[in-house]
Symmetry: C2
Subunit: 375 residues, 2 copies
């Protein structure tokens, strides 16, 4: 029998339900109000407009790397997109220019207070050689949510997407062919105010870089093993775990190394006294089990403020609901339930889902409960 994981991985974009094509993450009511107040303040400012896009192309295109030499995020294409914003003038003309260094004074707030947010999406070439993006409107609207959370400037998501498409036309030769290969796209916004007062940044830079990539994990599609710790918490209610901010990542590296030292490839992030499963590594987490009522059920934690609203997560949920072959739940699930299902032979599959890592199987999970026992 083909596993759910295998089925999901074989899904081609054209087989996705049409409901997927236009459902960007809705802004919360408070975010809409926040955006409106920014826009009111910014009516005198120049907007970001794809029609103003300037092109300054390289005279020294670099050679492509063969697929088997690609390491995630190491190689970058010839060009990048850039637009700059200032509080008094608004957006500069957007620009496609040769990939190159960014120069900032050491006082720039991105170096001090983590004014940075990003997105990750992928461009593929289809059988006809056309460029395909997977639900890029989701990434654009999630980037806007992130920038507003950091009081970085707003932008029209459709204009940015139009700019990205122009960049991809220029970089088409950098989109690798072959199963599992794609051009990883990294839109990023940083605060570039050059003074140290802790407040909103009066300058910002939006850039997009592109990296030809293969599978994220060197294990390929083999299972990764997980360390489930109870003494380290990725995100908290009232925090920022549901935004794609740089600051959600650096704190996890030490724990990732500690897991590696003990032989695990990633961390399974838990929350609360009952050890709810939240995310795995840098991915959303899915558990496929036969539940206590004997039903097959695909479970992923709900978007309660501590979970990144993943594009892959959303797509898996939509696909599984359209299939209508098993129960699909966004609900809390804790270690006790997973361990019990495992012990009773009811745990069918467990996997992580994210754009960079696609859909990765989890092997086995070690629950480290020593810390919690001490409390």
């Amino acid at each position: 029998m083909r596993s759910l994981l295998t089925t999901l991985r074989r899904c081609q974009p054209r087989r996705l339900p049409s409901s997927l094509s236009s459902s960007p993450f809705p802004l919360l009511a408070s975010e809409v109000m926040w955006r409106r107040s920014l826009q009111t303040a910014a009516t005198q400012q120049r907007p970001l407009l794809a029609a103003n896009l300037e092109r300054r192309l390289t005279e020294h295109p670099r050679p492509l790397k063969p697929n088997n030499e690609l390491v995630f995020g190491h190689t970058f294409s010839d060009h990048m997109f850039m637009a700059e914003w200032s509080a008094d003038k608004g957006w500069s003309n957007p620009l496609i220019k040769p990939y190159g260094k960014i120069s900032l004074e050491p006082s720039a707030v991105v170096f001090h207070y983590a004014f940075e947010c990003f997105e990750g999406l992928k461009a593929y070439k289809d059988a006809q050689g056309r460029i395909r993006l997977f639900r890029p409107d989701m990434n654009m609207s999630r980037l806007l949510r992130s920038t507003l959370r950091l009081t970085l400037p707003a932008f029209d998501t459709e204009e940015l997407l139009a700019c990205l498409k122009e960049l991809l036309k220029v970089e088409k030769r950098w989109i690798p062919e072959g199963r599992g290969y794609s051009l990883y796209i990294r839109p990023t916004m940083i605060g570039t105010q050059e003074s140290l007062g802790v407040g909103p940044s009066n300058r910002a830079m939006l850039f997009i870089i592109c990296s030809p990539v293969g599978p994220y994990y060197r294990t390929g599609f083999n299972a990764v093993s997980l360390s489930a710790r109870t003494d380290a918490v990725r995100a908290w209610p009232g925090g920022t775990g549901d935004y794609k901010l740089g600051l959600n990542y650096a704190p996890c590296i030490k724990l990732q190394l500690e897991a590696a030292k003990e032989g695990y490839q990633q961390n399974l992030w838990l929350f609360g006294n009952d050890h709810q499963i939240t995310e795995v590594g840098t991915m959303n987490c899915f558990v496929f089990l036969k539940n206590e009522h004997g039903e097959r059920e695909l479970v992923t934690p709900p978007l309660d403020g501590t979970i990144l609203p993943g594009v892959t997560r959303d797509s898996i949920l939509a696909l599984a609901r359209e299939w209508n072959e098993f129960k699909v739940s966004e609900r809390a699930i804790n270690m006790k339930e997973v361990l019990q299902a495992s012990q009773e032979g009811r745990l069918i599959e467990m996997f992580g889902a994210g754009t960079a890592c696609i859909v990765s199987p989890d092997g086995w999970v070690e629950a480290e409960t020593r810390e919690s026992m001490k409390r």
Copy 2:
């Protein structure tokens, strides 16, 4: 009667108890082990050595700004300190060079995953024109704690302090004179690996910049008013609120603006269902009250993992304990206790303490409990 706040503000470094002079923040046992494992791995690497300090001084020194034109963190001195690290070579020779831009590829991890930590300390000129630092060993050891938390490279704190002192000798003319004025010093470490995989940075940059400053708040030493929200959390157990990482700052700006819109100057950060007071703005928080037993008591929240171990906090505690005139407690204190003390006329003073802001009085606090009531 002179208030506690006024007394604290008039304290001169030479009046501080001798116990203060050499008590850097101890590393936790786990941090010591972590550092040891890094050092074992790094024995082949070049260490950071003040003896190797190189000087490349500017030929175009800039004019000083008059004290009344100084805004916190806007003006920088002629030179900066810089040292670079790579995983294979260790530390470069440290360098004092003209203040100037940092150039990094757009893939540098500091722009994506918040690999950044910093310190803030101040240099003063005493009546004899000598340069005085306030407990700089505390800042150096706290920076080391922060870098290790982010898996950025270790360094010898005494070597870095020796480098800083050399920088200050070069920049002596930039230390302003006059009460409330000083040279604010900002040591910063960033991760500079130029590839996007989420893991430890294989390159780093350590720099120190200096900014002549006056009072942080434009209100001077007038009280600031606070918005106490229960729907936003600065830090949590198992998080990183007790490290001076850039990532603790950006998420607070939106809430700061929302507070400003309602007429408050800062946020009072609460935690937990009982609304424990944790920090205020970017400062540690102190409450001076007559407690329920009729004793005068100075209370500040304990270093439980959610509180920044402040140098000013530590100094106030040491001073107050040496005075032995009232009870001094590091203990949890919640909004209910503060409000009750206020209603019963037992709240004497409430203030924030930090290097940038010194000791700032809090005016009145609005407890926004709507959110918590809804739950």
